[in-house]
Amino acid sequence: MTEQKKRTTIVLFSGDYDKAMAAYIIANGAAAYDHEVTIFHTFWGLNALRKEEMVPVKKGFLEKMFGKMMPRGADKMGLSKMNFAGMGPKMIKNVMKKHNALTLPQLIEMAQEQDVKLVACTMTMDLLGLQEKELLDNIEYAGVAAYLADAEDGNVSLFI
C-alpha cells in the first residue's frame, strides 16, 4: 500500500491505572485499524513507562523523593476513582482476570508488539526527576514539537 496511513495520537497525562488502560486499549485498537499510533507520555503518565525494578541513578534529594512517591511502573498505578488506598486496584485486577481482560502491563507490551510509538516527554522527565535508564527500553524521547508533528496530520487525537 502506497497511500499514507491514518494516524492516531494520544497524550497520556494521567498516572491513573484505569485512564492509562483506556489510552492503551484505544492505542491497540487503532494499531489494529492500521493507524500509525503515537502515545506521548507526559507528567504522571510517564510512570506507566517506569521499569518495575529499582534502577540505580544519581539524583538530588527532591528527585529522589519524587521517585519514591510515584508508582514504579504501570502495575503499581492507582485508580482514578475508588482507589481505597490500594485496595481498589487489587479488586479491579481480580475482576479483570475473571473477564479475561488484559492488564495494563500486558496492554503496553501488546502496543509495543504492534509498533505503537511510545514517547516520553523529556521536559517533564526533568521535572519529575526521571531518567532514561529508569524507563522502558525501545521508547522515544521528544518534546512538544515532535508531538505536534505527529498530531497535525492526525485523524484521531486524544488527551487522557
Binding site: 491497540n28 485498537g29 485499524y33 473477564h99 479475561n100 481482560a101
Partner: protein, 75 residues
C-alpha cells in the same frame, strides 16, 4: 464458501478480538476468507466497523449460542 483460516478468539475481551483479527488478516492474501469466532458482546459492532474501514468485506455473520461467527474476505 471456502474458508482459508479460522481464528478462535473466544473468551477474549476488548481489544483482543480486533487485534488478533488484524494479525490473522495480515497473513492472508486478497480474496481469501477468514472465519473469526468470538464471545465478546461488542465484537459485532467492532468487527463490522473494522472490516469497513480497513477495506475488507464482512460477507456473513451468525450466532451459535453465545458465540459470534464472522466471515471476512480480505480486500
Amino acid at each position: 464458501m471456502k474458508i482459508d483460516h479460522v481464528l478462535d478468539a473466544k473468551g477474549l475481551a476488548c481489544p483482543m478480538p480486533i487485534v488478533k483479527t488484524k494479525k490473522a488478516m495480515d497473513t492472508l492474501t486478497t480474496g481469501q476468507v477468514l472465519e473469526v469466532q468470538t464471545t465478546d458482546k461488542g465484537a459485532k459492532s467492532d468487527l463490522t466497523a473494522w472490516a469497513k474501514s480497513t477495506g475488507h468485506e464482512l460477507i456473513d455473520f451468525k450466532e451459535e449460542g453465545s458465540t459470534f461467527i464472522f466471515y471476512i474476505q480480505k480486500g
